[in-house]
């Protein structure tokens, strides 16, 4: 039986039991307070029975943990499949595999005639109605990842700083030292310049999920759905969609890939330096 139904029946049964006990208790001033407490508990469990429709995920961990920070799960919410083409999530006894499809669209309304604009809107409408199964189409504006470039600049700066320090220790005023200082100044300006402005990218993708009792089964179903969807997207938009693989998927899932860590911390550090 569905656990939600069990929770509903359980709470309703508790509510009825408390009402029955309140009724069964003998009359008298001694029993007034217990009767009212039992009635209040009956009402509370009845409310919980109703709330269990949407809040079973919260009520059960709260009852078990009885603290202000309710931990629903202490596991990572997903893992990458061994093939790297989908992410997997466990839900009760089943596995859910999700495949991300990149849709390369490089057109702008500013370059279109009215007729092309109308046609493009119609294409998007047809795209949304492509599948009988739930599909999510997303347009994502994200920060361009400059992390690796910034790291490379930082490594270069620190290497040159080391070389400069060695020469300074030798107390030699040489053309080589001047050259290093000039180079250092150049790389620092470059780092400042790179982190001084934010560049954005706009991407479009679709995601589709499938359920399976085994991980491989879920992956296989999801891949099949993705292939069908890709063929539909290709026909409607006239582009070549591709399945996103490996760490590229994280760009659509994790917030730190939406706003890359080093890119943004360098920018924050620069603003703080300016303010100081």
């Amino acid at each position: 039986m569905n656990p939600k139904v069990l929770v509903l029946i359980g709470f309703m049964a508790l509510s009825i039991v408390f009402i029955a006990i309140a009724v069964a208790l003998p009359h008298g001033t001694l029993y007034v307070v217990p009767k009212l407490i039992l009635m209040a508990l009956a009402v509370l469990f009845d409310v919980l029975a109703f709330a269990s429709r949407y809040y079973t995920f919260l009520i059960l961990p709260f009852a078990r943990q009885r603290k202000k920070n309710i931990v629903i799960s202490d596991q990572t919410p997903y893992w990458l499949s061994s093939t790297g083409e989908s992410i997997i999530r466990r839900e009760a006894q089943d596995f859910i595999a999700t495949v991300y499809i990149n849709i390369p669209i490089y057109v702008s309304a500013s370059e279109m005639t009215d007729e092309e604009k109308a046609r493009f809107t119609m294409q998007v409408s047809r795209l949304v109605g492509l599948s009988k199964e739930p599909v999510r189409f997303t347009a994502e504006l994200y920060l361009m990842n400059k992390d690796s470039y910034i790291q490379k600049l930082k490594d270069t700066i620190s290497r040159i700083e080391d070389d400069e320090a060695k020469l300074v220790e030798q107390k030699k005023e040489s053309p080589e030292l001047e050259h290093l200082r000039g180079e250092l100044s150049m790389w620092r300006k470059m780092l400042d310049n790179v982190s001084s402005y934010t560049s954005y990218e706009l991407g479009t993708f679709a995601a589709v999920s499938a359920r399976g009792v085994k991980e491989s089964e879920a992956i296989s179903f999801a891949q099949q759905r993705a292939r069908e969807l890709m063929s539909g997207i290709g026909t409607v938009l006239g582009v070549s969609p591709n399945i996103v693989v490996g760490n590229e998927i994280l760009k659509y899932v994790e917030p730190e890939y939406l706003i890359p860590y080093s890119t943004i911390t360098e920018q924050i550090a620069r603003i703080v330096r300016q303010e100081v």
Binding site: A40, P77, F137, P255
Partner: protein
């Protein structure tokens, strides 16, 4: 409200209403009044949960300071309107905004009118909105195809009901003009939807929402930045004919889970949403 919601409401209210009949067994005078008050509070809370659970539960969590950890590394704040992730001391706050078409627009009454203008201006409106937004966001359209015949039968059923309401209103001499106009509008909307299906359009069910992430050096800074971003989103996308309201409560948890696994069937999708979306 769907069938499941009606069943839950009926079962739970029946218990409370039945308990009214046993009130004389509880006691007399003030005791009965207190017991009655307790039952009425229960009925009131159930009705609030039925129509605006996201407001009530968020209020309770905020008052009691309850936070939720939906998965390792993530935390839903006590106001239940943002999810926080701490990455090496930098806080990423993610929030959601509904972006569904308004449940009622005059254009629905006459779908063919202004259709061309709408088709032409849509890409421009979208690009203008994106250009005005200076922070990361995701615009999601979660859609699923519906059975054409079933949708048509459903619409015909609704139209018959509205026609019955109309004939009753016309027979009733005390019915005012507003009632008749409202029924006529609903009939026009149903008719235009049926016309669209007849012209070959495929009926689809969609849920549209916007996700945005803000950063901050503290949790509060990130949540404040997120609130600012959501306000900016609401302004920038106001030209797009969509209902933009911030999502709070359990649907934050649902949408968070959608990042890692979508509903696999239409029924699962329908069960995930109720009032806000």
């Amino acid at each position: 409200m769907d069938d499941q919601g009606v069943a839950y409401l009926a079962f739970c209210l029946v218990i409370l209403l039945t308990s009214l009949s046993v009130l004389p067994s509880i006691g007399k005078g003030i005791v009965v009044i207190i017991a009655l008050a307790i039952i009425l509070v229960g009925v009131f809370v159930i009705l609030i949960l039925n129509f605006a659970d996201f407001l009530f539960v968020s209020m309770v969590c905020s008052a009691l300071g309850i936070t939720i950890e939906p998965a390792a590394g993530y935390r839903i704040v006590k106001q239940q309107n943002a999810i926080i992730k701490n990455v090496n001391g930098l806080f990423y706050a993610t929030g959601y905004v509904t972006a569904n078409l308004f449940p009622y627009v005059f254009k629905l009454e006459a779908a063919a009118e202004n259709e061309d203008v709408k088709l032409i201006t849509s890409p421009e409106n979208w690009e203008r909105a994106v250009m005005n937004i200076g922070f990361p966001f995701k615009y999601h359209v979660l859609s699923t195809g519906m059975d054409v015949q079933k949708s048509r039968d459903e619409l015909e059923g609704k139209r018959s009901y509205e026609e019955f309401q109309m004939s009753r209103a016309l027979q009733n001499k005390s019915a005012d003009e507003t009632t008749i106009t409202n029924i006529q509008r609903r009939l026009n909307i149903l008719q235009s939807k049926m016309d669209r299906i007849s012209q070959g359009e495929k009926p689809i069910a969609t849920v549209m929402y916007v996700e945005t992430t803000a950063i901050g050096v503290s949790e509060k800074a990130a949540v404040d930045a997120l609130t600012q971003q959501i306000n900016d989103l609401q302004i920038s996308m106001s030209s797009m004919d969509v209902d933009l309201s911030r999502i709070m409560g359990r649907e934050i948890y649902t949408l968070f889970n959608f990042n890692f696994g979508l509903p696999c069937t239409k029924e699962e999708l329908e069960a995930s949403f109720d009032m806000q979306s």
